[in-house]
Symmetry: C3
Subunit: 137 residues, 3 copies
């Protein structure tokens, strides 16, 4: 089994942001030389997510609005007694999940026609990281 590990760094301009990282992940898979296996793409923070869906701007705004409805900002979260103000960012992260596994077949991401990998930032404007770990042969 071969393993390659790389990290992607982000510092978003906005508090919440959605960034297509498919090309970056593909480059890491190519560099790894792994032909058959999988790549784990996992946020290293508890107020961010990694998900697979469509690269369509309208949908991304729909997702953002939907997340704010299901996991809204609220000054009253108990978590805020620690001095934090990002309780909603944790809940949004849990709803969307912090990681995906993408299959690799014949050296490429084995994706359907519309699948794209996104990093979703829910508490940005600071340096944050995603691990990309390729495993296989």
């Amino acid at each position: 089994m071969k393993a390659t590990t790389e990290y992607l760094w982000f510092q978003t301009k906005n508090h919440r942001e959605y960034i297509n990282i498919t090309d970056s992940v593909e480059e890491i898979v190519t560099r790894s030389g792994i032909q058959e296996g999988m790549v784990l793409v996992s946020a290293m923070h508890i107020t961010a997510a990694v998900y697979v869906n469509d690269a369509e701007d309208g949908l991304i705004q729909d997702i953002d609005e939907w997340l704010e409805k299901l996991a809204p900002f609220n000054p009253k979260y108990r978590h805020h007694r620690t001095g934090e103000t990002n309780g909603d960012s944790h809940l949004k992260s849990l709803l969307m999940h912090h990681e995906v596994i993408v299959p690799i077949t014949a050296g490429k991401l084995d994706f359907g026609p519309w699948q794209q990998i996104y990093y979703a930032e829910f508490d940005g404007q600071r340096r944050k990281r995603v691990i990309v770990k390729v495993l296989g042969e």
Copy 2:
């Protein structure tokens, strides 16, 4: 490391449908000959999900109603400006997630007593695919 890749195809009669694919996945694992490892079961579309839960019809109807409540059909999604009408199908897919990893021990799915793998279709009546990738030894 050994790797086996197969694809399951679906064309549902209904717009939304829940299909137990545990037996199909088990057969692929058996064919692979892999004794220790994992199987990735991942929808290749962004309006479908793969999840693990109970094979109980009442619960499946509860899940469907719950999803419609948390991620309802709504003609006003921005995504619909592209001509689509399936904004809710994307949100349902994100809520349920598009993939699971099942451990393989001694050549079998290492599951608890009630765990079953489901393909959840949220925008059906067209041909769609799930990748089943077995990795291990």
Copy 3:
């Protein structure tokens, strides 16, 4: 490829409970001797979850309240016609997901500063199990 499989057992005092299992998972990874790979941590029940987030008591109470809001107890679930009363536990499990994959680099969980692994029990007071499967080299 090397594989190690161990199981963690739980019997919670309360109906719902959140248990930090990071140290137990780390010990299993250390015992496995695997330096590069991943560990799958997966609930073997359909009314429990495994997730990665913060070890902060206020936040854990926020998560519990949020789950009860999005997937509430309700006597009217169809699933209850089977004699069960835990429809909400299944929905909470689906919302939080039953498993995570944690990358292993240089023999350790390759985590960001605040990431911790939790077992979330949504229908406790009985014996339940989590599989911890380490794969790699």
